[in-house]
């Protein structure tokens, strides 16, 4: 236990140090920083405007009101934003780090490999998602459509963490293909884009897509399904339980796959 504790402390300290250095480096180009933030914020606003336009035509969607959909939309942004903020460097594994042999550098240092990947970068663009998500959730709460009691608040926090972990696991899984095929960016992009479906109630899709985003690439469990628990009293808390199980399961699979990938890593010639 003592050993575990010191390891955790050491990694925590290293994380602060590495991210601190990263922030120092990006602050040097403030323009990039704010443009990225603004860009993401803008695309979020467009997403909501789109929802609004759709609802001018149809007042309810499969039994969901506009206000409820706004909550689902906002709720979906939070785990996505957390994952985007913390683990964005996984994309670089898929596109560049493996094929260019830059993974060598991680292999040479006495630290956990996954830790090194994510400790290299924070993605400030994600603040746009977190901001919009928070605003929409607060708005929904003020309208009184969200169930609030101690259970729901605790499960809300757990659900967000589990949702972010599902995002990270899916990214890590598809990025790890790069160890075999060198560039896995296109696959990762397709898988990640599936998350777009999860912003809306899954009932509106055909059976195949519904099955796909619920059980194969389980983005439905990061947004729509848990969000419904917070909106409807008749939805059981089991849905959050399943979300957590999926998160842990997917994480274990992805992490094992990533480890397998690093063991067959081929570097690149000089």
């Amino acid at each position: 236990m003592e050993q575990k504790n010191t390891t955790f402390k050491r990694y925590f300290k290293l994380y602060r140090l590495l991210i601190g250095q990263f922030l120092k480096a990006i602050m040097q180009s403030k323009v990039d920083f704010f443009m990225g933030l603004f860009g993401f914020f803008f695309s979020q606003v467009m997403g909501i405007a789109f929802l609004y336009l759709v609802f001018q035509q149809i007042p309810t969607l499969d039994g969901w009101t506009f206000d409820q959909l706004i909550f689902i939309y906002g709720f979906a942004q939070i785990p996505r934003g957390i994952d985007h903020l913390l683990t964005d460097n996984i994309w670089m594994i898929a596109w560049r780090i493996v094929i260019k042999g830059e993974f060598d550098r991680y292999m040479l240092r006495p630290m956990n490999l996954f830790f090194q990947v994510i400790a290299e970068k924070l993605q400030p663009d994600a603040l746009g998602e977190l901001l919009v998500g928070s605003i929409l959730i607060i708005l929904s709460i003020s309208k009184g459509i969200v169930i609030i009691d101690i259970w729901h608040v605790v499960l809300f926090l757990i659900s967000i963490i589990a949702g972010a972990l599902i995002y990270t696991s899916i990214k890590l899984f598809f990025a790890s293909f790069a160890f075999w095929i060198k560039i896995s960016g296109p696959f990762l992009q397709v898988a990640y884009d599936m998350a777009e479906f999860a912003k809306y109630p899954t009932e509106i899709y055909t059976k195949i897509i519904r099955f796909l985003i619920t059980w194969v690439i389980p983005f439905a469990f990061v947004a729509y399904l848990p969000a419904s628990y917070f909106l409807k009293a008749d939805v059981s808390a089991t849905v959050i339980g399943i979300e957590c199980i999926i998160a842990i399961l997917f994480w274990c699979i992805s992490y094992a796959f990533f480890n397998k990938g690093t063991s067959i890593y081929e570097s690149s010639g000089n």
Binding site: L14, L17, K24, A25, G101, L108, P110, E266, N270
Partner: protein, 340 residues
Amino acid sequence: MIQVSHISKEFISPKKYPGLRGAIKGLFSNEKVKKMAVDDISFHINKGEIVGYIGSNGAGKSTTIKMMTGILTPTNGECIVNGVNPSKYRKENAQNIGVVFGQRTQLWWDLPLSESFSILKEIYNVSDEDYKNRMNFLNEVLDLEEFFHRPVRTLSLGQRMRGDLGAALLHNPKVLYLDEPTIGLDLVVKDKIRKAIKTINDNYETTIILTTHDIDDIEELCSRIIVIDEGKKIYDGSLKELKEKYGSKRKIRMEVKHSKELASFSTAEKLNCSSNDCLTEYDADNHLLTISFDKHKIETPQVISSVMEFTDVFDVQIQETELSEIVKQIYNHEVSEELV
């Protein structure tokens, strides 16, 4: 310190065909090409040795180093570095070794060198006291102070290399791998780097494995060399031995008084030996006569006097075979059969 036993590394890649048609064909074919980058290599390196690991481009040098550092997992065989198997216990191994790749920096590009060092201090868990002592030593041998606070991307190649070397040594590794540490550097900086390597080896008994194409690196640093070619080890022994065995050629260069007959002049004929043992070349434009001969078979004065009998000699230069020539021969597969 390092025990490498029968390691091999095989790379499998899809077969490629030339041209656009080939590219399309490649999409539908399932053929694979196997390449043995390293083929059954074994050696043992003792503590404190400096070993030169040489071979032509693509011979498998970097692949071997990458297996010893834990970047690559061997297809067959295993290596043990300081009691640890690098591919199984990567983190433990990483704590014991330092690595410098001449082609690629391990430093943080946008950060001042000083910050890179303070990050590395934490990564390798170096205590404050050790850090202080270590920095004093590194400053002394590498003169890091003059550019210590500048971002790495603004450093010259020579400064960056000194920075990289310092960074690899901060945690006092028992084994240091240097992959072409002097590549692209000017002579003064090369010299500085070599001196630093030597000092580190003397003071800390650091075991050093060095790959290089620079013959001077080997001559000045390495007591032992391992030569590999096409993934196989073809020589392992002392530098002196290699030179004695294959450096038997001596070259004499003479500036002579020009005469037409010199073009057909042959020292071999004069001394009654085969032209294999004694080769004469005449450069009519510069009036230079070059004679290469086996020094174990022919005496130098014999050669000079045979020429002096024929024409006037103004200047004489005697050259021993340089290591670079032996290496060149090895690269061209000229001596590889004899060595095996």
